[in-house]
Assembly symmetry: C2
Homo-oligomer: 396 residues x 2
């Protein structure tokens, strides 16, 4: 009796979420220490201590009806202004509070901006592999997600020629995700300049607006000193979706924001539309206490070095066992080639109590995603299992 | 450059939200104490002290990655089980944790269940006057909101004959809201029995499923000992959307739940669908800390007596001035007849710094909604302004 659309979605429910549920079951059956769950991007590193300190202080000193009450649908004005000022300082932008819209995480923000922009049939492009939920978010508003081909030769970097070839008069947006889930690639200034050049040329060619939507939950997770350029500085029609889920280890709290700069065409209308969308999609506003909390923690971040230690241990160990993968520069995923079909590989891995996500969930078969936002000692304990799988497939 | 749908929505933006913004501006211009903002249902009564106590205790004693981390999309299992047990105790239901889906407020819950159920063109009925956002929520999924006629003669009670006349083979759901926004009417067991009888007969006549969706943010706000019956006890295909926004004065925190009882046809599929909808609409899960917090406050509620004092003062004062309205039994609104067009009346009221919402926003012209979830002394200070408006229209 559920809708036709939903029937299909229930049948093909998220592989990642299904693994998360399976991991919990296996932990009960075999003991938590004997299951190596690399399936979900659920941060293992603790939130910085400033989060709890700020939260308790707000609860103890601020008026409760302010802390827990309604505010404007776009968020507390003072929170939006603080975030704008912080971004301006870090990235040389020229944002005001009105350019920031507080959202229920980046997932909420992406839905809000797609609801705001998409007419039925509009095309939204994304480079493959891509975060599986983009397809659902675009489908929510009857748009069409167009996967750009995988750039194997270029190490999963964005391919501007493939982008140019895919843009049509129906193209409304390109979603990019850097640092990238699932590959760990960080787009360089050169990558972004090339993307921006293509988008500008195509806007002119077709007389359309093409929005660059930057999904940035992993912005603060970059290693080896690699720079993560701020995309609004490269292309006017850029909208950023940010989340504190990873930078402050708060994924359950559902807090993030959209940046809609004045350089976006008809920015005030887009901002007004996004504010209405935030309300009518049922978010109403981003949760209130956590809005006030993150505004007090704008200079804090989780212990990124802990993820870096995980990255090095897992990457070097797997390479040493004969696995193939590019070295990730950001986020907390390894995207590893599989010697057989990715689903068969992940089933074999599960026999060894290793939970990894088939790459076909990201539009890229014959790879698996391994989320290393886990305890260091779980990685250590899991290595014999990875080795047994490698030996089974004769990788070494 | 925003979507066609959104253009219309931005143009006709929420009158209530526009007033909330206007009230903030007027407070700056004339001084907060000289503006009488009765526009928004933003609770004035403080959350019960147990909320802050529970929150601080959770922050101080529980593992942070548990408190702020991802959990199943339906919410923490232990929270869902506690809520089910509490409902079973209060209302004699037979719910388990799996029948409870934690949501981003009732607004989030309604969007989730409508996304789950509606095919394009499906009809959703509601009694008029109705909460204005229902139309947007139904439109989000290409459903058609059908307003049932206003039952003026019956004091805004639900009219089962009008309901029966409006149901077609395309009818997928009836949304009811008791205690009611904007009228304050509480549906009696007799009212609900009649509604259930009609729905059952029509399900049989058409061989369809018709869901009764109970939107219950005001459940705990009832006065004079009036009973608020639990709707799942009257009709199998009932789904409840609850919110803690008013019962615990936490509207900004966005926390509520859906109840999908086993008595619903194909309940497991509906639950699975709603869980997926919660994820892909971008809610992902209800905010985490506040989930854990409300589970510790299931026997707490705000000081309902404070709203009752407001109700009596405002109702009796306005009646004494010559205004006409039914005495509300629940929620925190008066729905007052206007001697002229409701928009003209509310403009006149604004000249006296009184902000009230035209009834046409609820599908019922020639009335205004006055939200009395405000400070008692603001009501006292506002009375001369209401009197001047009454005198202007010669009501007394």
């Amino acid at each position: 009796m559920i809708s036709e659309k939903m029937k299909g979605l229930v049948a093909g429910n998220s592989v990642i979420r299904a693994m998360f549920e399976e991991g919990k079951k296996m932990a009960k059956e075999f003991g938590r220490e004997n299951v190596y769950d690399f399936s979900l991007g659920n941060p293992s590193v603790r939130p910085p201590k400033e989060v709890r300190e700020a939260m308790v202080k707000i609860l103890e000193t601020e008026d409760e009806n302010y802390v827990h009450g309604y505010m404007s649908n776009g968020g507390y004005e003072e929170v939006r202004e603080k975030i704008a000022a912080s971004l301006n300082k870090r990235f040389g932008t020229h944002l005001a509070g009105k350019n920031i819209l507080m959202t229920v995480g980046a997932a909420g923000g992406l839905n809000v901006i797609l609801k705001t922009l998409l007419n039925p049939g509009d095309e939204v492009l994304t480079f493959t592999p891509f975060f599986v939920e983009y397809r659902n978010y675009v489908n929510n508003f009857d748009g069409v997600l167009v996967q750009l081909p995988v750039n194997f030769a270029g190490g999963f970097r964005p391919d501007p020629e493939a982008l140019a070839a895919a843009i049509t008069p129906k193209t409304k947006a390109l979603i990019v995700n850097t640092p990238n889930n699932p590959t760990g690639v960080v787009y360089s200034a050169e990558d972004i300049t090339k993307i921006a050049d293509v988008l500008r040329a195509k806007q002119e060619e077709y007389g359309t607006e093409i929005y660059l939507i930057a999904d940035e939950p992993y912005r603060e997770l970059a290693y080896d000193g690699v720079e993560v350029p701020y995309l609004t500085n490269f292309y006017d029609n850029t909208i950023v979706g940010y989340s504190y889920s990873k930078s402050l280890s708060l994924p359950g709290e559902r807090i993030g924001y959209l940046v809609i700069p004045d350089e976006v065409t008809d920015a005030d209308t887009v901002i007004a539309g996004a504010t209405v969308a935030n309300r009518i999609l049922g978010f109403v506003n981003a949760p209130s206490l956590i809005q006030l909390t993150v505004a007090e923690c704008l200079d804090s971040e989780v212990d990124v070095a802990a993820y870096d230690r995980n990255r090095k241990l897992l990457y070097e160990s797997l390479i040493g066992m004969g696995y193939h993968c590019i070295k990730p520069e950001g986020a907390f995923y390894l995207f590893v080639e599989t010697p057989v079909d990715d689903k068969a590989f992940s089933e074999k891995a599960k026999e060894e109590h290793l939970l990894v996500v088939p790459g076909s969930s990201f539009g890229c078969a014959n790879y698996v995603r391994i989320a290393y936002c886990v305890d260091y000692d779980m990685i250590e304990r899991s290595l014999p299992a990875f080795r047994r799988v490698a030996e089974y497939y004769g990788l070494a």
